[in-house]
C-alpha cells in the first residue's frame, strides 16, 4: 500500500458523511497553509493534543476586533501555519446568499487566505480560517469591496444571528431577519470596538421553537410570541383526523396545559385560550390546521450562556411581551439600559446572567426600570430572608 503523510486523517475520508479532511485536502492543493494545517492536525491526532499557541493580538485599521490571532506552537515544523489567523465575517441575516456573492467571497479568500471556511461559526459569523498577518488588511479591504464587513470578538457585542423567520416560516411571530439587520447596523460601533467586560450576544428566534438557540446561546434572547389566541381551521383539523391522525394521542394528551379538547361526535376541536402557554406543539404537528395568533410580538429573555464561569444558564424571562416594529426603539432602549448597567457593574469576564445572579434579580430590575412580574419566575421565593429598604419601614425612635 502507498504510504501517505496523514494516515490517521485519511481514515476520516472514508464513511458516508461528508469529510472535513477531504475539504482540507482540496484547499491544500492551492494553499500551503491548508497543507500545513493538515500536517499539524495529523500530529495532533497522533499525540492527542492541539498545537496552537495561546493567541496574540492582531488587528486591522479602524476595527478593535473581528480578526483573531492564531499561531502554531511548532512553526519550524509547519512554517505555513506559523501565522494562521481567523477573520470573522458578519454573515447575512438568516444565512441567505446568492451564488454570485459566495463566489466573490471565495475569490477574495483564495487570494488572501487558506480557502477554508466554517459555514458558520458558533456565534453565526462566516469564519475564514487561516491567513498571515500581512494579508489581513488587504483581505478585509477587499471583503469590504464586495460588501462583507467584520463580525465581533472580545468584550464586544458579538455578531447577531437569527432563525429563517418570515422569509420562509409560517410560524414567525416577529421579523427575525429584519430585527437582526436593523440591530446589526445600529450597533456597529460596539460590535467592532470592544468596550465591555466580556462578550454580549443577541439572537432572535421568531417563535418558541427557538431554532436559533437564542435562549441558551445569547445573553439577550428575543423570542417571537403572540398574546391573543391560536387560529384553528376546523375543516383542516377534520381532514387530519379523517386521514388517520390520532388526535387524542398526538395532540390532546400532549398539550401541557390541557387547553385543547376534542369532541369526537361533533368532530370539534376546542381551545381554552387563557390556558394556552404557546408551546408550539399543536402547531408543529398540525401545521395546516393550527396557526400562531395575530397579535404578535416578542418575549425577551436575559442571561443565557455556556458554563464559563459559574455554570450554564438558559435565559430568564425579562419582558413577557414587547411589540416588535421597526425601528425597534423599545428593544434598543432596553439593550442600552442593560449593557450600560452591566458595563458599569460587572467584573472582568462576568456575563450579564452571572452579574444578575450575584446582585439579585430585584436590583437588576430596579436599575433598568422594570417592574417585577409573576411571568419572570417559576415560583416566588421559598426562603424568608427578604431585603427591606429603610424607606419601606417605620423609623425607630
Amino acid at each position: 500500500m502507498e504510504e501517505t503523510k496523514t494516515p490517521l486523517l485519511d481514515e476520516l475520508e472514508k464513511g458516508d458523511w461528508p469529510s472535513f479532511v477531504s475539504e482540507i485536502k482540496k484547499a491544500a492543493k492551492k494553499s500551503p497553509g491548508a497543507a500545513d494545517l493538515l500536517n499539524q492536525l495529523e500530529v495532533s491526532y497522533k499525540e492527542k493534543i492541539g498545537h496552537w499557541k495561546h493567541g496574540g493580538i492582531v488587528g486591522v485599521k479602524g476595527y478593535g476586533g473581528g480578526v483573531v490571532g492564531r499561531y502554531s506552537d511548532s512553526p519550524e515544523e509547519f512554517p505555513n501555519v506559523k501565522e494562521f489567523h481567523t477573520v470573522r465575517v458578519n454573515q447575512v441575516a438568516g444565512f441567505f446568499y446568492t451564488a454570485e456573492k459566495l463566489r466573490q467571497l471565495a475569490d477574495v479568500w483564495d487570494k488572501y487566505g487558506s480557502g477554508l471556511y466554517n459555514m458558520h461559526g458558533s456565534t453565526g459569523d462566516i469564519i475564514l480560517l487561516g491567513t498571515v498577518t500581512e494579508n489581513l488588511q488587504p483581505c478585509v479591504d477587499e471583503l469590504g469591496d464586495i460588501g462583507f464587513d467584520l463580525g465581533g470578538s472580545g468584550g464586544a457585542l458579538r455578531t447577531l444571528s437569527c432563525c429563517v423567520g418570515k422569509a420562509r416560516c409560517e410560524k414567525a411571530c416577529v421579523d427575525s431577519t429584519d430585527i437582526i439587520r436593523d440591530l446589526t447596523l445600529h450597533y456597529q460601533d460596539v460590535i467592532h470596538r470592544p468596550q465591555w467586560p466580556y462578550k454580549f450576544k443577541i439572537k432572535v428566534s421568531a417563535c418558541p421553537n427557538d431554532c436559533a438557540a437564542a435562549s441558551a446561546r445569547s445573553d439577550l434572547a428575543v423570542m417571537g410570541v403572540w398574546r391573543d389566541t391560536l387560529r384553528i381551521d376546523m375543516d383542516a383539523v377534520r381532514e387530519y383526523v379523517a386521514k388517520g391522525f390520532n388526535i387524542n394521542e398526538q395532540l390532546i394528551n400532549k398539550c401541557p396545559t390541557q387547553a385543547l379538547s376534542w369532541d369526537a361526535d361533533k368532530q370539534e376541536l376546542s381551545l381554552c385560550s387563557e390556558d394556552c402557554t404557546r408551546c408550539m406543539h399543536c402547531i408543529n404537528v398540525m401545521p395546516k390546521a393550527i396557526r400562531i395568533g395575530t397579535e404578535t410580538g416578542a418575549t425577551i429573555l436575559i442571561g443565557g450562556k455556556v458554563p464559563v464561569v459559574k455554570g450554564p444558564m438558559i435565559g430568564w424571562v425579562l419582558v413577557p411581551f414587547m411589540k416588535m416594529e421597526p425601528p425597534y426603539t423599545e428593544l434598543k432602549e432596553l439593550v442600552d439600559k442593560i449593557t450600560d448597567w452591566w458595563a458599569d457593574n460587572a467584573k472582568n469576564r462576568e456575563r450579564v446572567g452571572e452579574l444578575i445572579e450575584r446582585v439579585g434579580l430585584a436590583n437588576f430590575l430596579e436599575a433598568i426600570g422594570l417592574k417585577p412580574l409573576p411571568q419572570m419566575v417559576k415560583a416566588p421565593r421559598h426562603n424568608p430572608y427578604i431585603f427591606w429598604n429603610p424607606e419601606e419601614v417605620e423609623k425607630r425612635g
Binding site: 493534543i49 458578519n90 446568499y97 446568492t98 471556511y117 458558533s122 416560516c169 441558551a216 450554564p312 438558559i314
Partner: protein
C-alpha cells in the same frame, strides 16, 4: 482610511423572488420526502427547499460547487441553516427532481428535516482552537458516519434529536441544551510556570478567574498557586494566563451528556445532564464515543413514545430507569457539587426501584 461599519450584505438582496413576494405570508409547510420542505403561501405560491449535509469546515471548491448547483436549479439562491446544513431554494418545481438527481449523483446527503437526526453543531477542535481537548470535527464525522441513515430518513426516530460536540467545557455550540452532547474534559489540575506567569500574567485577573477560589497569589515568585482540593479543572485560568497549562493527553478525554432541549414544545427547555463522565481520546475513530452515542440513540428510539424528545422520555421514565435501560453505571461523578447542585437532589419518595 478604509470604509468601516457598513455591516453585512442586506439579506433582502439575497432572497429569491418567490420569497420577496411571499415574505411573511407563508401559510404552512409539508415534508414531501426526507430532506425536502415544501412551503405554501397564502397566495398559493410554493417554495421547495432541499437540505443537504455539510461538514461545516468547507473549502472554496465546496463553496463554488454549491454555488454552481444553486445557479443551475435555483437561479443562484441558497442558504445555510443554524445547524450547518445547506438549503437549495427551488422556485420552479420542474427543477426539483433534476436537482435531487444531481445532488444524489454527487453524493450529497439529503436529509435533516423534521423527525430525523440533523447535522451536528460542533466546535473547532484541534483544527484551530487553542483550548481544544479533543477534535470536534473528527468526533462529529465518526458519529454521523454511523448515524447518517437517521439523517437521510432511512431509519425513523420518535422525535427530533440534536447532537452537539464541544472540544472543551466552554461548550460553544449549545452543548448544555442538546439531546446528546459530547464535551471535551480535563481530569488533572493545571500546572503553573511561575517564571513565565511573573512576566506575562496579571495576578489579580488570574485569581479572579477561578470560580471556586482555588487560585491564590504566590507573592514570593510573583505567580499563583492552585489548591488541588478546590480545582474542578474548568480551564478558565488558562484563558487569562498563558503560563498556566492544563492539557494532559493521557488524562484528557470526553464526557457524554443527554436530555437537553431548547424548543418550548410541550415541555420547557432543559439542560443536558451527565450520562458518561469520561471516555479517553481515541483518534482517528473514537470508537468508544461513537458506540456510546449510537447506543443512546438506539435505547431512546426503541423505548420513547412518538414525539418524545430524549429529555422528555427520560423525565417520564425517571433517571434511575434511564441508567438501567442504558446499562450505564451511576457514579459519584453524576452528583453535582457546583453552584446549583441542590436543585438536582430528590426530595420525594416518588422514584422507581
Amino acid at each position: 482610511m478604509a470604509r468601516t461599519d457598513f455591516g453585512p450584505p442586506d439579506f433582502r438582496e439575497m432572497l429569491p423572488p418567490v420569497i420577496k413576494e411571499n415574505y411573511g405570508q407563508w401559510k404552512y409547510h409539508t415534508v414531501p420526502r426526507p430532506g425536502v420542505l415544501k412551503h405554501v403561501s397564502e397566495s398559493g405560491a410554493v417554495l421547495h427547499s432541499v437540505r443537504v449535509a455539510s461538514p461545516r469546515l468547507v473549502s472554496s471548491d465546496f463553496i463554488r460547487d454549491i454555488s454552481d448547483i444553486a445557479e443551475k436549479y435555483c437561479d443562484g439562491y441558497l442558504r445555510f441553516t443554524t445547524r450547518n446544513n445547506v438549503e437549495f431554494l427551488v422556485s420552479d418545481e420542474a427543477r426539483l427532481q433534476p436537482l435531487i438527481d444531481e445532488l444524489d449523483a454527487k453524493d450529497y446527503l439529503i436529509g435533516g428535516v423534521g423527525l430525523s437526526i440533523s447535522n451536528v453543531v460542533h466546535t473547532q477542535g484541534w483544527i484551530h482552537c487553542k483550548s481544544a481537548v479533543t477534535d470536534a470535527s473528527g468526533i462529529s464525522k465518526n458519529i454521523m458516519d454511523e448515524l447518517h441513515e437517521y439523517f437521510t430518513g432511512k431509519i425513523k426516530v420518535p422525535a427530533r434529536l440534536r447532537i452537539a460536540v464541544a472540544c472543551c467545557v466552554n461548550m460553544c455550540g449549545a452543548c448544555h441544551c442538546s439531546d446528546i452532547s459530547v464535551v471535551g474534559i480535563h481530569r488533572t489540575i493545571p500546572r503553573v510556570n511561575d517564571e513565565l506567569a511573573s512576566k506575562i500574567c496579571e495576578i489579580p485577573t488570574t485569581v479572579a478567574a477561578c470560580p471556586t477560589g482555588a487560585i491564590r497569589p504566590n507573592p514570593k515568585v510573583k505567580s499563583v498557586t492552585i489548591n488541588p482540593e478546590k480545582c474542578m479543572m474548568c480551564g478558565n485560568c488558562t484563558a487569562v494566563c498563558p503560563a498556566i497549562k492544563i492539557m494532559d493527553p493521557p488524562n484528557d478525554g470526553v464526557s457524554i451528556w443527554v436530555g437537553g432541549k431548547l424548543s418550548n414544545a410541550r415541555t420547557a427547555p432543559m439542560f443536558s445532564k451527565l450520562a458518561i463522565p469520561f471516555i479517553p481520546n481515541n483518534p482517528p475513530h473514537w470508537p468508544e464515543v461513537t458506540d456510546a452515542v449510537k447506543h443512546l440513540v438506539e435505547v431512546w428510539t426503541s423505548h420513547a413514545r412518538e414525539g418524545e424528545r430524549m429529555g422528555e422520555w427520560i423525565e417520564r421514565i425517571g433517571w434511575e430507569r434511564f441508567f438501567k435501560l442504558t446499562d450505564l453505571p451511576f457514579t459519584a461523578k453524576h452528583l453535582d457539587d457546583f453552584t446549583h447542585a441542590t436543585t438536582t437532589f430528590r426530595s420525594s419518595t416518588q422514584f422507581k426501584f
